[in-house]
Amino acid sequence: MSIIGFLIRRILTGIVVVWLVATGAFFLFFARPVDTVARQLAGHAATPQVIAEVIRNLGLNQPIMVQYWHFIDGLVHGNLGYSYYTQESVNTMIGQDAPATISVVIGATILWLIVGISVGIISATRARSVFDRVSNVLVLIGLSMPVFVIGELLILVVFVPLNQHGFHWVQTGYAGITQGFGVWSGHMILPWITLAAVQAAVYTRLSRGQLLDTLGEDYIRTARAKGLSERRVIFRHAVRAALTPVVSQLGVDVGQLLGGVVVVEVVFGLGGLGQTSVQAIDTDNLPVIIGFVIIAAAFVVVANIVVDLVYSILDPRVRIA
């Protein structure tokens, strides 16, 4: 199976998945009584006439299938609709919020993969050493900590004392990379650590377990028996085989990663896609919610295609099919 054929097939199924998610989200949200939405928009003191007016302006009085048709029509043309409150285009809002979210995701992913996998490898090759025991304890604590608790504790023990003592590099909120790398990374460092901590724990445990299992295989004994150095045995023979399940785990974790991003953005006030969608949920801003759900689904689909490609490169036995 050629890589082109694989990509075409995966992209087509991906489009179907996104369509299904979009449709599901649409009917889930629009199945609610329109009055509640309109009443919230119009304010508590609104007369029934005003509410009817609001409903008509939003097009909520049309039959559901007509609304659905408009929604899908817009979607096909790349238009995700307009905010109920500001009439701002959802596309524009996503464009504004994306940099913060992308900064968090990329930085945290790099951090957790480096920390998780390297700690896992060191732990596995020195099983039962002090390092291994300490890392096992830290892993358990990491697994037991909700993202928002880590974030709040970091604010309490890092951000507040540092800023009280005149050290202002570490900040909350978001600063674009256009303001300079130093400013940007100072704002991002706590979100990165927060998001990476939990995931790094999962990956340390996974890569350690996988590597320990691999090191027990016969071909590792063979490699040692033919006199290869331990470093070569571990890095050329064992790690490669041990890391393939780690990569496939990454594909599964992308969905959860988004959940973590939402929380991190709220904790640190980054104002990215996640925080905006929580606000939209609070205010019944349906087009914005649906827009973000669609973006999230598309992200999961794309990330999984990438993970499968990487997987097939790491493990040549896996045919892309």
Partner: protein, 351 residues
């Protein structure tokens, strides 16, 4: 396929068979496990911590009687200082200080524990029953049933938990029932995947063939011949899911889409505490500690049970790697699925 009456008949006899099988075979296995678990100091400590947490949660009204501070009552005179901020631990009879509106933080944490533990246990129970049933059916029937169920499982596992949970909480309105429903909906998938994998390998064994040749129907085979061999991994997975459900609930409540104030939940206490971390460290630290201690205890207990049931893994692994080659494992799963059985369930609904 069997007719309905046949299934009914078999379901009845399956119950009877399961009872007797559990009595004879189960006891020795559980005894062995319990003996290994008892010698594991960490796991026993964790178990004691869990018991203490449960007792504290149940006894919350008793502490209200002692302190005379009901969970929802604010004490603007004694519970807040001149600036209107919370007072610290030990002040004016508030053991752990007060919260942002002058309520007793200790009492609120206890009431939060009731919610957290209840949600954790109930959702795990629902998720386990659903996951085991779906996994058994997918693995046993194979074919189109398997394809549909396995795809669905993968989809649930890959879906952005928090996003959908938030959406559902909004559409249905945040309430305890909705939260339990949402968390249960995500609880089953990890278990179903493991159960399916194990069922695939167990159903090829000779004794299953023997049972089939004796005329046992699919449901009898699934629930009385296959299921008992899966109890060990399922128990471990369930224990390890409880802390995740606790975290999930806390996260939803933290985002304002779970338990609604004034009902106390660790998540919504911590959300309120955000406004006070400059002045009142205890307001953040104590609920966070309660949450951490609870989830950590469940995780350690789950790891301990896993080690006790399957001596191959983790803590004893390094020393016994060679011995494992000879000793057959309990309920050996097939192929590459085995090493990640404890971790697959760890796809934490991290929020």
């Amino acid at each position: 396929m069997t007719s309905t009456s046949e299934i009914e008949f078999e379901a009845k006899s399956a119950d009877a068979a399961q009872d007797s099988a559990a009595r004879v075979e189960g006891r020795s296995q559980w005894q062995l496990t319990w003996r290994r678990l008892r010698s594991d100091k960490v796991a026993i400590t964790a178990m004691i911590v869990v018991v203490i947490m449960v007792v504290l949660a149940i006894a919350a009204p008793a502490f209200v009687a002692i302190t005379h501070h009901p969970p929802d009552v604010a004490y603007p005179n004694t519970g807040e200082n001149v600036a209107g901020n919370p007072v610290g631990p030990g002040t004016a009879g508030f053991w752990l200080g007060t919260d942002g509106t002058g309520r007793d933080l200790f009492i609120r944490i206890l009431y939060g524990a009731r919610i957290s533990l209840f949600v954790g246990v109930v959702t795990t129970a629902i998720g386990t029953v659903a996951g085991v049933s779906i996994g058994l059916m997918a693995g046993y029937f194979g074919g189109i049933v398997d394809t549909v169920l396995a795809r669905f499982t993968d989809a649930v596992l890959a879906f952005p938990y928090v996003v959908l949970a938030l959406a559902l909480a909004v559409v249905l309105g945040p309430s305890l029932t909705v939260i339990i429903g949402v968390i249960s909906f995500f609880a089953w998938a990890g278990i179903a995947r493991i159960v399916r994998g194990q069922t695939l390998s167990i159903k090829e064994k000779e004794y299953i063939e023997a049972a089939r040749s004796l005329g046992a129907g699919p449901f009898r085979i699934m629930f009385s011949d296959i299921l008992p061999n899966l109890l060990a991994p399922v128990l471990v997975l369930a224990t390890l899911y409880i802390p995740q459900a606790v975290i999930f609930e806390a996260t939803l409540s933290y985002l304002g889409l779970g338990i609604q104030p004034p009902t106390a939940s660790w998540g919504n206490i911590l959300a309120d505490a955000q406004n006070f971390y400059q002045t009142s460290w205890w307001y953040v630290v104590f609920p966070a500690l309660a949450l951490l201690i609870t989830t950590l205890a469940f995780n350690l207990l789950g790891d301990g049970i896993r080690d006790a049931m399957d001596p191959r893994t983790e803590r004893v692994l390094a020393g016994r790697r060679r011995r494992r080659r000879r000793a057959p494992r309990l309920a050996a799963p097939s192929g590459g699925a085995s090493p990640d059985f404890p971790d697959a369930a760890r796809q934490a609904p991290q929020g």
